[in-house]
């Protein structure tokens, strides 16, 4: 409750571990601030599109919860969050009274049919963006350096230059943008889940509807390294490339320090610029790793070369959580992963439902994805991206607190994708991507009622065929004459009379209060009065 008083001014950096803010984030914030200033200076234009979500309980994702508040956006960017806001004439309003407002969710590793659609008359073209860039690079070079089958490794021919890296990234973004189906039914399903940003082949994509402009949110923010125990050759290559890149940066630094412009710039020969970017902190190094030994190796590698790893899988992470925490790792985990440790092992191992919680408690930034990252309409219920919050619920089952669980499907994946300056929380200056739910987002019965992307309503449960028939939205209470939704309520604080809701928010003797996350809903898992 104390956090409420700080309201939406907390930046995302404060929310997580501030000492680890992603480098890309820092630059972006500056741009953003500059932009914000420009906007202030401008006169208000009649062509501006104002959108307001009015009267809902706003869970900003920064720790603050504003009861009966309004989120106001201008041209797709959040302008203000609060009570008694002045809404300019012509503001489009969405009445969210009695409902909750959360930031749009961010889905990592989403399958390509999400944005490509499936309901197309022609068979799928041979390119699948999720497969990576194999088919894109003009001469197939982009992935050649990952080819681990070669005994003899030709270090000159296959080293990507700055230009290669640029071309590869652009082609990938182009492919994603150019194949985006803004009418895809899977897109609607994603929005029905509350997902507003999705990763397609390491690239963040904004899930816009009915339009194809500006869906590509930026270059990919991660670069995949292979450091698998099962492939000694690629391990050697990865280490070599890191060494060369590191050496190059050292030489570069020395050259710059010398300041002798006549002296030739250090040679880039044999230096893989992807690795240089990793070491410069321009992109994250991504690994697929589950095994304890691999995880330890990655942690050590990261500390030695001072980069931040994003570890996909991270199944046995809970056994080496402190090492991963020290290495500043991000982990993308599936709490329900089932893989018992080998009977031959004495050490702890295998999957654990507590993985997310243990990693989080050691400072690892945890993102959650379900085991199946597509949308299954004929599969098993509750195991795919349609149920992303359910998967986060399983992380809570393993001991993760509710705040961190919400972060694991909003801010942390946004950071991994390098778009946390735009999405992941509801804050002034960020994109107006919000979801309006009929209850606690992490409760299994809760449905997203509306989804707003860039200040436009893109999903209304009642208007789509999928879930409209389930618990139809109750009619909103009538307003007193002259009353405007979002005006009457005040910020809930400690002194406020404890109404039913407030009590639910902060159980007096909540077990997790000592974690300082009391402002967020404790949910049924921790709540004696949990529904059933």
């Amino acid at each position: 409750m104390k956090l409420l008083k700080m309201l939406p001014f907390l930046s995302t950096a404060l929310v997580g571990l501030a000492w680890f803010g992603a480098p890309a984030h820092a630059y972006a914030l500056q741009d953003d601030e500059a932009e914000a200033e420009d906007e202030e200076a401008e006169d208000e234009d009649e062509s501006d599109a104002w959108y307001a979500i009015v009267g809902g309980d706003v869970y900003t994702g920064t720790g603050a919860v504003l009861r009966g508040a309004t989120v106001l956006s201008k041209n797709g960017k959040i302008k203000e969050i609060g009570h008694d806001l002045f809404l300019p004439e012509g503001t489009e309003k969405l009445d969210a009274r009695g409902m909750r407002v959360y930031p749009g969710l961010v889905a990592l590793s989403a399958s390509s049919r999400l944005t490509k659609g499936l309901f197309q008359a022609e068979p799928e073209p041979d390119f699948d963006p999720h497969l990576g860039v194999d088919n894109l690079h003009p001469d197939g070079r982009a992935n050649a350096h990952l080819d681990t089958g070669n005994e003899e490794y030709d270090e000159v021919a296959d080293i990507p230059t700055d230009a290669d890296v640029l071309v590869e990234g652009q082609l990938l973004r182009q492919e994603i943008a150019d194949s985006f189906d803004p009418f895809s039914q899977y897109l609607v399903l994603a929005l029905s889940t509350g997902i507003t940003t999705a990763e397609q082949s390491d690239t963040p994509v904004k899930l816009k509807r009915d339009e194809i402009k500006d869906v590509d949110m930026g270059p990919k923010n991660v670069y995949s390294l292979n450091f698998s125990l099962s492939n000694p050759n690629s391990r050697r290559q990865t280490r070599e490339k890191l060494e060369k890149a590191s050496d190059y940066l050292r030489r570069m630094k020395a050259w710059e320090a010398e300041g002798d412009k006549d002296k030739k710039e250090p040679s880039k020969k044999g230096v893989d610029m992807n690795y240089v970017r990793v070491l410069r902190g321009e992109v994250f190094a991504a690994f697929n790793a589950n095994d304890r030994e691999e995880l330890l190796d990655i942690a050590h590698l990261a500390q030695r070369y001072r980069f931040r790893p994003v570890i996909n899988g991270c199944m046995e992470g809970w056994t080496v959580a402190s090492e991963l925490g020290r290495a500043g790792a991000y982990a993308i985990v599936t709490p329900r992963t089932r893989s018992p440790k080998s009977e031959e092992l004495v050490r702890p191992g295998g999957s654990s439902i507590e993985n997310a919680a243990i990693l989080h408690s050691h400072g690892v930034q945890v993102a959650v994805i379900p085991g199946n990252t597509s949308f299954e309409l004929n599969g098993m219920t509750g195991r795919d991206l349609l149920h992303l919050p359910v998967e986060a619920g399983f992380a809570i089952r393993g001991g993760l607190d509710e705040r961190a669980a919400l972060d694991s499907i909003t801010t942390i994946p946004a950071r991994i994708l390098g778009v946390d300056h735009r999405v992941g929380t509801l804050e002034a200056g960020k994109d107006m991507d919000a979801i309006i739910t009929d209850g606690d987002l992490l409760h299994y019965q809760t449905f997203v009622q509306y989804t707003v992307v860039d200040g436009k309503l893109v999903y209304d449960k009642e208007e789509e065929i999928f879930f409209a028939h389930i618990r139809p939205r109750p009619e909103l209470p009538a307003l007193d004459p002259g009353e405007e939704p979002g005006e009457a309520e005040a910020v809930v604080d400690e002194e406020a009379p404890a109404d039913e809701d407030a009590e639910e928010e902060a159980p007096p003797e909540s077990e997790d209060d000592d974690e300082g996350e009391g402002a967020d809903d404790q949910g049924a898992g921790e709540d004696d009065d949990g529904r059933l």
């Binding site: 329900r336 089932r338 018992p340 654990s352 439902i353 507590e354 309409l377 004929n378 599969g379 098993m380 219920t381 509750g382 149920h387 359910v390 619920g393 399983f394 809570i396 089952r397 393993g398 001991g399 992490l442 409760h443 299994y444 019965q445 449905f447 065929i465 999928f466 879930f467 409209a468 028939h469 389930i470 618990r471 077990e511 949910g523 049924a524 898992g525 921790e526 709540d527 004696d528 009065d529 949990g530 529904r531 059933l532």
Partner: protein
């Protein structure tokens, strides 16, 4: 055995063991909360026994007796009157429930487990499970399409890893059955998910019932004879007609003994079927033609369209692992929850399954959560994983609800057992602690 209503058995059991229980019951019925209150999420604490004269008590443990007490914030009995105690106490004596109600004084020799923020619910029951062998192996024998004397017993691995994890998630009773590769797949075992036990210690009933497969899976290949639905149905009916005739004539065949018991109504039969015509065909054959104690299992895709027919014929439905349909077989024009549709159709006993390992055995509760998400009532979905499956398979007198005289299979969780966020703290089977999160660490 014909009756699926366990209440009379319960009373007799209670009377035989503990006369004191009658006093308890009298007090408790007055103080129980209704199911309506549960649904409205505004649970009033039980108002307590109004008859001071019949104050409930628990008798001391006698020499050689074992027992324990569990005190919880909320106790959901899932009994015939849907009693809920808030707070509540369960007392176990010699593996059976000795007392269920609001907290009362417990003799000192009873170890008391106090979970004053947690919920107690009956152990969950899954009727469609193949994890008795610990893996996918050894569940289908594919030579003959009709295997009326095949049993899973030899392949059972008690307390295997799948079963142990299931236990840690509150699943305490499983109907371990053969696969659906053949039309009559054999006889399954009803067993408990004890975490460290022998075969004899886990058996609830052997054989627990028969497994049949009506359409889809057996059609892929039923052996040399009968690869089609029609051919397999013909073979099944031939076997059934013969058994029925033998039962009618009073003939005994040692190799067909259990099959005869199915036709005498003494053993239930669980039938794998899906789609509307599959469900309808199953009901028509196994209820309409042979009047067996049959349970429709799966009933997926558009199977719920035959829900009203199953309801009319009084056949229980055990739904899963697919619990929703969008456009398989028919275009639903919506994401249709199977549970919601079957409940609406008025199926007498509706239950949910995982078909483990198709769905992990420990996620049985999630079938309830997701069904509730898609429109069914959460309380009814808790019933669909506890008392309803137990009654469907004719073990309602033993498991599925927390009532005096029944097996002490109790699950303590930190909240709504259907909520994935709730943790299971303690699992007791037959009065013994099988899993304790505090003691064993969190398995799931």
């Amino acid at each position: 055995m014909k009756s699926r209503d366990p209440q009379p058995d319960l009373r007799i059991g209670a009377l035989a063991t503990r006369v004191a229980a009658w006093g308890v019951m009298a007090g408790l019925f007055a103080g129980c909360a209704s199911v309506e209150a549960v649904r409205s999420s505004a649970l009033e604490p039980s108002s307590g026994a109004s008859h001071a004269s019949a104050a409930p008590y628990v008798a001391s443990l006698q020499a050689g007796e074992t027992g324990l007490g569990i005190r919880v914030r909320k106790l959901i009995t899932m009994d015939g009157s849907d009693r809920i105690f808030d707070p509540g106490l369960i007392v176990v004596r010699n593996g059976k429930i000795d007392y269920v109600g609001e907290p009362i004084e417990l003799p000192a020799e009873f170890p008391l487990h106090a979970f004053d923020r947690a919920w107690a619910t009956p152990g969950m029951v899954d009727l469609h499970s193949h994890v008795q062998t610990g893996s996918w192996a050894d569940i289908n024998d594919m030579v003959y399409p009709i295997n009326t004397d095949l049993r899973v017993r030899p392949s059972v691995r008690p307390s295997n890893r799948e079963v142990r994890v299931a236990c840690s998630a509150g699943v305490t009773t499983l109907f371990g059955i053969p696969g659906s590769g053949t039309s009559i797949s054999g006889f399954g075992l009803l067993y408990k998910t004890k975490t460290d036990a022998t075969y004899d210690e886990i058996v609830l009933r052997d054989p627990g019932g028969m497994k049949s497969a009506f359409n889809f899976n057996p059609q892929r290949s039923g052996g040399d004879l009968g690869r089609s639905w029609a051919g397999l149905s013909w073979l099944t009916e031939k076997a059934n007609d013969r058994a029925r005739a033998e039962v009618g004539l009073g003939l005994e065949d040692p190799l067909q003994k259990d099959f005869h018991r199915v036709h005498k109504g003494e053993l239930p039969v669980l039938i794998h079927c899906a789609s509307a015509e599959g469900v309808a065909g199953t009901v028509r054959m196994w209820k309409g033609r042979y009047d067996t104690e049959c349970v429709v299992s799966h009933g997926s895709w558009d199977g719920h369209l035959a829900g009203p027919y199953a309801a009319k014929m009084g056949v229980p439905v055990n739904h899963g692992p697919r619990t929703h349909n969008f456009n398989s077989m028919v275009r639903e024009e919506k994401v249709q929850g199977g549970a919601e549709a079957y409940m609406r159709a008025g199926v007498p006993l509706f239950s949910l399954n995982t078909d483990a390992p198709v769905m992990p055995q420990e996620e049985l509760f999630l079938q309830g959560s997701m069904s509730a998400r898609l429109g069914a009532d959460p309380y009814e979905m808790l019933r669909a994983v506890t008392s309803n499956p137990a009654r469907s398979i004719l073990v309602g007198d033993r498991v599925g609800s927390l009532e005096v005289g029944k097996d002490a299979d109790v699950v303590i969780s930190t909240g709504d057992p259907l909520d994935p966020r709730s943790r299971v703290e303690l699992v007791v089977i037959d009065g013994e602690i099988q899993y304790s999160r505090e003691r064993d660490g969190q398995w799931f």
